[in-house]
Structures are given as structure tokens and as C-alpha cells.
């Protein structure tokens, strides 16, 4: 008898002493008003129960079991899947002294404590396909991680904040285009750098890839005969040709996309996925016919890259969905369907957002890319027809979007987001691909490397909606379809019984730019709590 008070006080003491245990229960339930299950469907009033890191039960209703987490008006989605990401991919992970590094595992050198993972998790991304950098013809093996729940080795990091490896050989990365040739040059008198080599052009890049495939095939014969040593790069290339490792091709320009289709036919690839695909909309019909999926790169990635001076949170939120505020006509299908057209804002749209006066203006540039200032006394108005550079078609004349507040220029080049060949990116890409019937997911690329989260994956999806992508497609392209294109659909990308308990509870509809993640759950553990 007298033991009872002692025991109960002991229990009280224990529970009071371990708040972490309360925060991360073994079994927990979430009562949500809306569930976007990842397939494009939305359910009202659902109770999701999680046990041992998996989703154990999904029931209709609002009856909250004891201890259930219930937030008024909340929308739940599966943890978002970033199907094309450069999180923590840095100089340490890309070996530039050779062009073919097919055998390198990104997983071997990735820093799982990188701050990008924490940022991605706090923006609802729980699974990320990390792709090797595009600087090698064969970049090596991609990795898939959960963005939280790993064991941290950084002594200053919060416990459990590190990413965790799901698959360290998720795909073989092949890169087309000019990135591979960057830095390379022809020989001078004394070769004093590993950059003195081919390829220095787009053609050279393809030569490099093609010759590696032929070398790998010769190697396979020699290996059969027992006359060569094990070669990690060729083994990976051969495994990819046999279909044991998926192939990812980084292609931005239209001609790169077409080159990828030709290489696939020439070497009989069992299949592949196009990555970034900046101009893939131009080859959309070919891709749809060949049933080649695309993971679209972002319309822009980081504030640092997109614009010289980073705008504030409110400004970027405004940018995430500009047509809702001032450019309604951009919703129109006619605009989106105009393949090859570049969305251009009409002159001086003024709007009131959160008390800020914001307007865009189209900046006119001459044929050499220099801004035209009509007030400049030295500027001569020329006869347009005479002066236009015949090499530049009129619709490709450089136009820039400048974001200004109070008459002060804050941000430039929002329209042309990415560097180098990616600068022709358009936020309409997902809508155009979808319309053409191409299987499509959206990737964040470097988006989460930036401290400004306004370029994150969910914002890319919101922008895609603003540029014509149906809302259900926007959700599937960052959840279930992204998981399919990464080969992890058995575990993540949808809210179903038996799948990993990766959930995001949003303060409102996830595609509304004002919504934010309140709770992010990875493998049943709350990793972000913004309640």
C-alpha cells in the first residue's frame, strides 16, 4: 500500500524529467482537417495514426484519440520529395581531375550535417534525391536521404538534425551540355593542369560519354576473359546499361535533351530520367512519345543566384505568386500553351502588398544587351528595323524584370533565374510538360542551399500552379510522382498505411503562398515544430 504514492511520484518525476519522450512518442495520432494524400486527392477530416515510424492507420472523422495532436484548420501532406537536389553537394564531392567518375559515390563524401538539410526539412522536404554535380560527363552515383533523423557528428548541431542515408547508389548521373567542358582548355606548351583536356565543347562532352560506353563494353569482354583488373567506373556504367542502376541525364538545352534520347537508343539504355530540363518543353512531344520522364529544375533557385541583392521575405512571398496579385492574365491557358514564348510582364504593374508598394517593369535593352535609357541625351532613337541585329530574333531580345520598392531597385533578373545555360528557365516548364503528357516532377536544385527559404520546393510548386499547372499535379509532382522517379515510391511520397510516417502539417492549403509548415514529421518523429 505505502509503495503506491512512492511509485506514482516516481512516475511523475520520470515523465516530467523526459520532455523529449513526450515530444517523440512511439505511437501518435494527428487529427487533420484536410489530407492531401499525395495521389492528387484531398480528404476532409482524417485521423492519421503513426506507430514505430510507419503510418499504421488512416480513419475518417474528427474523433481525437487521447494524446492526439490536433491543430485547427490544418492541411496534411506527405513529406515532400525533392527529386533533384544539390543539398550539401559541394567541391568536396566532385572530382574534377577526370571526366568519368562513374564509380564515385556521392554518399561517401556528403556532409549529412549540412545546414541545407535542416532548411529543407523546415520547408516540408523530408526526402531528397541528391545528384552529383554536373561538372563531369559521368558524375557518379546519386544518393537518396531523409533530411532529418540522422546521427549528428557536428558537436554544435542539434541532436537528430542530420540527414540519414536511404540509398547510396540511387542512379548514375550523366551530364550533357556545357557544364562538363567548364574550365577545360586546349594544351599550352607545358601541361600544368588537369583541366588541359577534352571536352571543351558540347560535342566533346558527348564524345567523352560515348567513348566511355565503348570502353566499358570492351572492358566487359576483357573482364570475361580475365585479362583486366576490376575497374569501378566501368562496372557502374555496365550495371547501368543492364538496368541495375537507373540513369539520370542532366540536360538543359533542347539539343541536349535530344542528344540524351539518341544516346539512349544507341546504347540501349533500359530507361532514364531527364534532370533539370530547362528547355525540355521544346522537346516535350518527343519525350512524351518515348515515355521519358523529366525532373524539372527550379524556375529560379537561390536569391543569391537569381538576383544580386536578396529581397525580404515579404517580397519573395509576393514573387512566389505574382499573378494572384497583379497578373491574372498569366493564368490563361493560351499564354501557357504558347510553346517557346517567354513570359514577359507588361510595363509597370503596380500593386499593394502588405503595405509595400511593389511594381515590376520591363527593362528594354539594345541588341548588345545594354539597358536602353530613353532619357539619356546620348541615346539616339534609331529606326528599329534598320538597327536590329539580324542574328538576334526579336523575341530573344534581352528583357529584364526588376523588383523595386519605393522607387529603389531591390532585385533584378527574377525572370531569368539560373546561371549559364539555366538562365532560360521558366516557371511554366512543369505546366508545359504536363500539358504535353510528359511524366514530370519538380526539383529544387540549389534552392535549399540558400538561407532564404522563399525559393524552396513548395514555392516552386506554387509558382508552377501560378503558371498553369493544375493543383493536384503540383502536389503529386513534389510527392508521389517525385518518389516514383526516384524509385522510393514503396516508402515515401504518399500517405498510406505501411508507408514511412513522413508528414507535413501546413497552416493552410500548402499551395497558398501564405501557408507554412507547422509540424514536420520524419519516420514518426517530430523534427520541426513551428506551432
Amino acid at each position: 500500500m505505502f509503495l503506491t504514492p512512492l511509485l506514482s511520484s516516481l512516475l511523475l518525476f520520470t515523465s516530467a524529467d523526459t520532455p523529449d519522450e513526450l515530444r517523440r512518442p512511439q505511437v501518435s495520432s494527428y487529427v487533420v482537417d484536410y489530407l492531401h494524400d499525395g495521389s492528387g486527392k484531398v480528404w476532409e477530416n482524417v485521423v492519421i495514426t503513426v506507430a514505430d515510424g510507419k503510418i499504421s492507420q488512416i480513419l475518417p472523422g474528427k474523433d481525437a484519440p487521447d494524446g492526439a495532436i490536433k491543430i485547427e484548420g490544418v492541411h496534411a501532406t506527405p513529406g515532400l520529395v525533392d527529386a533533384f537536389s544539390y543539398m550539401a553537394v559541394d567541391d568536396d564531392t566532385v572530382e574534377q581531375s577526370r571526366e568519368t567518375t562513374a564509380g564515385l559515390k556521392l554518399a561517401a563524401t556528403i556532409d549529412l550535417d549540412a545546414p541545407a538539410f535542416g532548411r529543407a526539412a523546415s520547408e516540408g522536404v523530408t526526402t531528397a534525391f541528391l545528384t552529383p554535380d554536373s561538372l563531369n560527363a559521368f558524375g557518379g552515383l546519386a544518393a537518396i536521404v531523409k533530411t532529418a533523423g540522422g546521427e549528428s557528428v557536428d558537436l554544435f548541431a542539434e541532436e537528430g538534425s542530420a540527414a540519414r542515408m536511404m540509398n547510396d547508389a540511387a542512379a548514375l548521373k550523366i551530364s550533357l551540355g556545357n557544364d562538363v567542358a567548364i574550365g577545360n582548355r586546349g594544351p599550352n606548351r607545358v601541361p600544368n593542369s588537369y583541366f588541359i583536356r577534352r571536352p571543351t565543347t558540347r560535342m566533346g562532352t558527348v564524345w567523352s560519354i560515348r567513348s566511355t560506353f565503348y570502353s566499358a563494353m570492351r572492358y566487359a569482354e576483357a573482364r570475361e576473359a580475365g585479362s583486366v583488373e576490376y575497374h569501378a567506373d566501368y562496372e557502374v556504367v555496365l550495371a547501368a546499361m543492364r538496368g541495375e542502376i537507373p540513369i539520370r541525364v542532366h540536360a538543359r538545352r533542347n539539343n541536349d535533351v535530344q542528344t540524351a534520347l539518341r544516346l539512349a537508343a544507341e546504347f540501349q539504355w533500359p530507361g532514364f530520367v531527364i534532370e533539370e530540363g530547362t528547355e525540355a518543353y521544346r522537346a516535350a512531344q518527343m519525350l512524351a512519345k518515348a515515355r521519358i520522364p523529366v525532373v524539372a529544375g527550379p524556375g529560379y533557385d537561390t536569391a543569391q543566384r537569381a538576383i544580386s541583392r536578396g529581397p525580404s521575405l515579404e517580397e519573395m512571398r509576393f514573387w512566389a505568386a505574382p499573378p494572384e496579385i497583379c497578373c491574372e492574365h498569366l493564368h490563361e491557358d493560351a499564354f501557357v500553351a504558347e510553346v517557346g514564348a517567354f513570359p514577359v510582364f507588361p510595363h509597370h504593374h503596380e500593386c499593394e502588398v502588405d503595405g509595400l508598394s511593389v511594381f515590376f517593369h520591363e527593362e528594354e535593352r539594345d541588341e548588345w544587351g545594354i539597358p536602353v535609357d530613353h532619357d539619356d541625351p546620348l541615346h539616339h532613337e534609331h529606326d528599329h528595323e534598320e538597327e536590329v541585329n539580324p542574328m538576334l530574333p526579336e523575341h530573344e531580345l534581352v528583357r529584364d524584370v526588376v523588383l523595386t520598392i519605393g522607387g529603389k531597385e531591390l532585385a533584378r533578373g527574377l525572370q531569368n533565374g539560373r546561371f549559364s545555360e539555366g538562365d532560360q528557365s521558366t516557371p511554366a516548364l512543369p505546366a508545359l510538360l504536363h500539358k504535353a503528357g510528359v511524366q514530370m516532377a519538380i526539383g529544387g536544385a540549389e534552392a535549399h542551399d540558400s538561407i532564404s527559404t522563399e525559393s524552396s520546393l513548395i514555392h516552386q510548386a506554387r509558382r508552377a500552379v501560378a503558371y498553369g499547372l493544375p493543383r493536384d499535379q503540383a502536389i503529386t509532382s513534389i510527392t508521389s510522382r517525385a518518389a516514383v522517379l526516384c524509385g522510393v515510391q514503396d516508402r515515401v511520397g504518399s500517405v498510406e498505411v505501411g508507408k514511412d510516417a513522413d508528414l507535413v502539417l501546413w497552416s493552410g492549403d500548402p499551395l497558398e503562398h501564405s501557408s507554412r509548415p507547422l509540424l514536420v514529421v520524419v519516420d514518426g518523429e517530430i523534427v520541426v515544430d513551428n506551432r
Binding site: 567541391d91 564531392t93 572530382e95 561517401a108 563524401t109 556532409d111 557528428v153 557536428d154 558537436l155 601541361p191
Partner: protein
């Protein structure tokens, strides 16, 4: 010469001349003895014979013929400089190749160098000379006594490995990245270098990936010690329970984050070891003791602080000959005016291999 500074005090004299003292047993009875747990205990007797410690304790039975000396001061083990470039004129490195596993730092050592006297005077009795970490397989370290006779204690301590990209990277041939360095390292099969299986390796690292690669490549049977570069806080969690060297920042250069890093490394169970060499240049011999004193104050753990420049340092380079006052170890002993982790402590005498090689003026 170092040997010229014989002890004159403590008549009839501390064991000063080896020839005369051969076979004799000396019973040293200092005011206090620094024990392996870092504490200073009174009433201890240290028995030494032929340069070795026969035993240490409070109730030791003195063998017949043992000569007893009472010493005024705290007797501590001589410090071990766990990674050093002292006593060498040119750095031990060979940049013409990526892999130089057969290189020996031993061959860069000058036993007549003036550095040795300074080291003795700072209480450092053994010094681990390391090849520079400019090669992925960088060669063998050497253990040298800073005074006495028979000073080359080990010509091959551990094989030094380096996956520090800023040192092993090469703009003409590669690698350009940690990924490339790891690839070259893993192909090279370090475990097969003769001697590595017995002596183990000492891996220079600045990244958790490098640590995992070394473990993956060498397996469980090979002894690995670590040399921490860059920001040890960013990968320290990977080194829980391991012995790892940490360069000493310059005088007054401990930053708040640096101190916090030291504290967290200690808390995570990393057995920290200090040495005088650092990427930004050699530290003063006296900095070794200063670093240990800083660590002691910061962590409140004098045992670990003392071990960082004695027993853990000996383990770091793979010897049980030095680094503690214990049975069978070399009689490398230093008599201090106070506990050596007390910044005010001054050296009164230094014995190396049981022979007095230095004594200070105030010890008379």
C-alpha cells in the same frame, strides 16, 4: 651538448653518469608524484634502475642497496610532444608523388639540433616527428628522446595518412576533391604496407567522410589514431572514444568557439592529444603545457588534460615506453616546483632515461 648540463645539486647527486649508475637502484622520494589520474600524491616512492621505472607506490619495499633521495618538488612524467617538426631543418615531405609510404621522418631528424635543449627545458622528454601530411600515404613517424643517450626510440611509429584536401590536392594531376582523394586512398590498399598491421596508422582528417573512409578501408584489425584539422567540431561526433591530436592555436588565439570546441570534444569522449606542430607554423615548446593547463581549467578534468601531453600522447604514436610514471616505462621524469598544470610551476630538473639532463638555477 645537452649532456653537459649535469645536475650538481642533491648531493651525492642524482643519477648523473650512466656508467657509474649502471645496475644501481635509485629510490626517488619527491614531495609529490603526479599519478596517471592527474592528481599529485604525497608519500610516493619511485624506484628506477638503468633508465627504467621499477615501480611506484607508497609502500614499496626498498631493495637492498637502493639509494634514497628526497626531492623537493612535484615529480611528473616527461611530456610527450605528440606531433612535432622540432629537430628537423627541412620539413619531412616529398611532393613529387601522391603516395610515399616508405618515407621516414627519422631521416629528416638532426640529433644535434638546438631545438632539443629548448624542448628539455620545457619538460618535453620525447618528441614524435611526423612526415608532413602532403601525401595520402605520407610515411612513417619517428619517436626521439630530447636528451640522453640512445635517443632514437622508434624509427617507425605509425604510418601517416592524409585526407586533408588542402594538402594532398594537386592542380596538375588531381585529386581536386575529397571524393578524388578518398578514391585514390581506397584503391591504394594501405593495410598491405609492411608494418601497418603491427604499428597502425595516424590519419590526418578534416571531414567526417574522410574518417569513415579510413575506417572502411582499414577494417577493425588496424589501429587508427586521428589528427584533427579544420574545424574539429564539425566532425567530432564521429571520433567518440578515439585518441585524436589537435593543433594548439597561437598564444592568446583560443577563440571562444575554439574553447567551446575543446570542451565539447572532451564531453563527447574524444581523447585529445596536443603537439607543437600546427598547420600555421610551430608553437613554442612551452605551449604544450599551456594547452593542457587550459584544457584542465576548461573541462575540470586534470586527468584528461595531463593525459593529453603524456599517456594519451604516447598511445597516439603507439608506444607504452613513455608518458607515465609506471612500472617498466622509461624513467623520463621532470621535477616541478608545483603541479605542472599550475601555470606558476617551474622546472627544477629533467631526467631522461634516468639521467639528469637539465636542472634549473633555482633548484640549488
Amino acid at each position: 651538448m645537452i649532456l653537459a648540463t649535469y645536475l650538481l645539486a642533491f648531493a651525492p647527486a642524482l643519477p648523473a653518469q650512466q656508467a657509474k649508475s649502471q645496475g644501481l637502484i635509485w629510490a626517488l622520494q619527491p614531495t609529490q608524484v603526479v599519478l596517471p589520474d592527474g592528481s599529485a600524491a604525497e608519500g610516493q616512492t619511485v624506484l628506477i634502475q638503468d633508465g627504467r621505472i621499477l615501480g611506484v607506490g607508497t609502500d614499496l619495499e626498498l631493495p637492498s642497496g637502493a639509494r634514497r633521495w628526497k626531492l623537493d618538488g612535484v615529480l611528473a612524467p616527461g611530456f610527450v610532444d605528440a606531433f612535432s617538426a622540432y629537430g628537423t631543418d627541412a620539413p619531412a615531405q616529398e611532393d613529387s608523388r601522391v603516395m610515399t609510404p616508405m618515407l621516414r621522418a627519422y631521416d629528416a631528424v638532426d640529433l644535434g639540433h638546438q631545438d632539443w635543449t629548448e624542448l628539455c627545458e620545457a619538460g618535453i622528454t620525447s618528441v614524435h616527428i611526423l612526415p608532413q601530411p602532403n601525401n595520402i600515404q605520407a610515411g612513417w613517424g619517428a619517436l626521439v628522446a630530447s636528451g640522453g643517450e640512445g635517443r632514437m626510440l622508434a624509427s617507425r611509429t605509425r604510418q601517416a595518412l592524409s585526407l586533408v584536401l588542402s594538402r594532398v590536392g594537386d592542380s596538375a594531376f588531381g585529386p581536386s576533391s575529397l571524393a578524388g582523394a578518398i578514391e585514390l586512398f581506397e584503391v591504394a590498399d594501405t593495410a598491405r604496407i609492411p608494418g601497418v598491421a603491427d604499428r597502425g596508422v595516424l590519419a590526418h582528417v578534416d571531414d567526417a567522410s574522410a574518417i569513415r573512409s579510413v575506417r572502411r578501408s582499414l577494417g577493425k584489425d588496424i589501429d587508427i589514431r586521428w589528427m584533427m584539422w579544420g574545424d574539429p567540431a564539425s566532425y567530432g561526433g564521429e571520433l567518440k572514444g578515439e585518441v585524436a591530436g589537435m593543433p594548439i592555436p597561437g598564444i592568446g588565439a583560443w577563440t571562444p568557439r575554439g574553447l567551446e570546441t575543446l570542451k565539447r570534444l572532451h564531453k563527447a569522449g574524444v581523447k585529445i592529444v596536443f603537439g607543437t606542430w600546427s598547420p600555421s607554423g610551430a608553437r613554442q615548446p612551452g605551449d604544450l603545457r599551456r594547452a593542457a593547463a587550459t584544457m584542465s581549467r576548461l573541462t575540470g578534468d586534470p586527468e584528461a588534460a595531463m593525459a593529453s601531453i603524456t599517456s594519451h600522447a604516447a598511445d597516439f604514436l603507439g608506444t607504452d615506453q613513455v608518458g607515465a610514471i609506471g612500472k617498466g616505462r622509461r624513467a623520463d621524469l621532470v621535477l616541478w616546483s608545483a603541479h605542472p598544470l599550475d601555470p606558476s610551476a617551474k622546472i627544477r630538473a629533467v631526467l631522461i632515461n634516468g639521467i639528469a639532463v637539465h636542472r634549473s638555477a633555482d633548484s640549488e
